[in-house]
């Protein structure tokens, strides 16, 4: 993987994904390894994303690396009209690795083509956020002991949620069964169903959030956002339907874990937080180890 950019989850093979997941476990066991000592990592956030940025910066710090960059485009030369290409050309002269968040879709692929050093996509608009997917995979692996043959339930906004789409693509390498639970307006797009059909992966669609979750190994919750609905009445109808409450977990499997990319609003009731099946805060912590693994691997240090 040395020297390779990470733009889209589909850039990584099954073997490469497993390598990252296993390396993340190694970093979790021994987080203070100064592998990035003397290295400079550019952290270019053209739009603010505190959660992702802090996770990356923690990972860089734990590896002993130095960080240059900016936290939103107001403090970069973009405000002077500099093109992305010029910013990337300049920064790639200074750094060993670029971590980039940008509001425009496809910006990460373009940056990777322009840069002399590897680029890690930390989110390009609504397109891709592959490090989120890899930390989701690590969380699944860690809690289930495997990525193979799992029953994955995805709940909420399955139409626009990019984390859901990337997770679906990546998990499809591991023979899962998918269950999609979403309001009609936010159903999983046809292109993903065609993709699953082409891989002969089984999936089921539901519009009711009920005790069908008793079969789940992983329950992946997402936010249903008001702005996604053309009709506000539709939003009012569904906003409290796709909410997970502690009582709903009574008949679920012991190995079930609940994941959420965060931030949550009301889709997971706070009474779930103390249930041992709630895993979303550890999931965020796993992001640090996963990002350490990605950076070490791309720089050829592991």
């Amino acid at each position: 993987m040395k020297g390779k950019s990470l733009v889209s989850i589909s850039d990584f093979s099954k073997e490469e994904i497993l390598e990252i997941v296993k390396l993340a476990a190694e970093f979790e066991e021994n987080p203070n390894q100064l592998l990035l000592d003397g290295k400079v990592v550019a952290s270019l956030f053209f739009e603010p994303s505190t959660r992702t940025r802090l996770s990356f910066e923690t990972a860089i710090n734990r590896l002993g690396g130095n960080i240059i960059g900016f936290t939103d485009s107001a403090s970069s030369s973009t405000t002077k009209g500099e093109t992305l290409k010029d910013t990337i050309k300049m920064v790639s002269n200074y750094s060993d690795l670029i971590v980039m968040r940008h509001p425009l879709e496809g910006s990460a692929r373009y940056a990777a083509e322009q840069s002399d050093v590897p680029v890690i996509n930390a989110g390009d608009g609504a397109n891709q956020h592959p490090t989120q997917t890899l930390l989701d995979l690590y969380s699944i692996y860690k809690t289930q002991g495997t990525l193979e043959n799992l029953n994955i339930f995805l709940v909420g906004d399955l139409k626009y949620g990019r984390t859901v789409h990337s997770l679906l693509m990546a998990m499809s390498l591991f023979n899962p069964i998918f269950n999609f639970i979403a309001p009609d307006e936010l159903r999983i797009p046809d292109e993903y169903k065609l993709f699953l059909d082409s891989k002969s992966i089984r999936y089921f669609e539901h519009s009711e959030f009920t005790d069908i979750i008793s079969k789940a190994d992983i329950l992946y919750m997402t936010r249903v956002q008001r702005e996604r609905f053309s009709d506000p009445i539709e939003y009012e109808k569904v906003k409290n339907v796709y909410v997970l409450r502690n009582s709903m977990l009574d008949n679920t499997k012991d190995n079930l874990r609940i994941l959420h990319p965060l931030p949550r609003v009301n889709e997971i009731h706070t009474d779930v937080d103390d249930n041992p099946k709630a895993y979303y805060f550890q999931q965020a912590e796993n992001g640090v180890y996963t990002r350490m693994a990605i950076m070490a691997s791309i720089l050829g240090l592991k």
Partner: protein, 151 residues
Amino acid sequence: MSKRKLKVSAIKEGTVIDHIPANQLFKVISILGLDKVSNQITFGTNLESSKLNHKAIIKVSGKYFEDDEINKIALIAPAAKLNIIKDYEVIEKKVVDVPDEIVGIAKCFNPKCITNNEPVTTRFTVVSKDNIALKCHYCEKITSEEHLKIT
């Protein structure tokens, strides 16, 4: 051939590109770079056609196109036909074929795509050739025929 039909003069050696939609003539000229070559070129437009409402025709003297080169016009002139001329005779006829990859020419329909916001050459994988569908190499969104715009 009767004199009435011969609206654009014949060429001795070269290529005749026929059945171009009349409204795409100048785009075809531009995509093929015919505005920058020194060859003799004659063209006619708004000609009557049984296949198209109004067609255009281009005759390029002393030039034979490679497939890769001519296939670039398939997006805007899918019915175009090539007549390869040697010594005033048609020695070969060719149709155009939509290529697997398209660089430049087309515009991504996604307003939030980097290619619509910075000076980036577009790149697409052709995911369907019957009803043209182009997957953007950058934003990964699919531009369908109804949203297709040529730059």
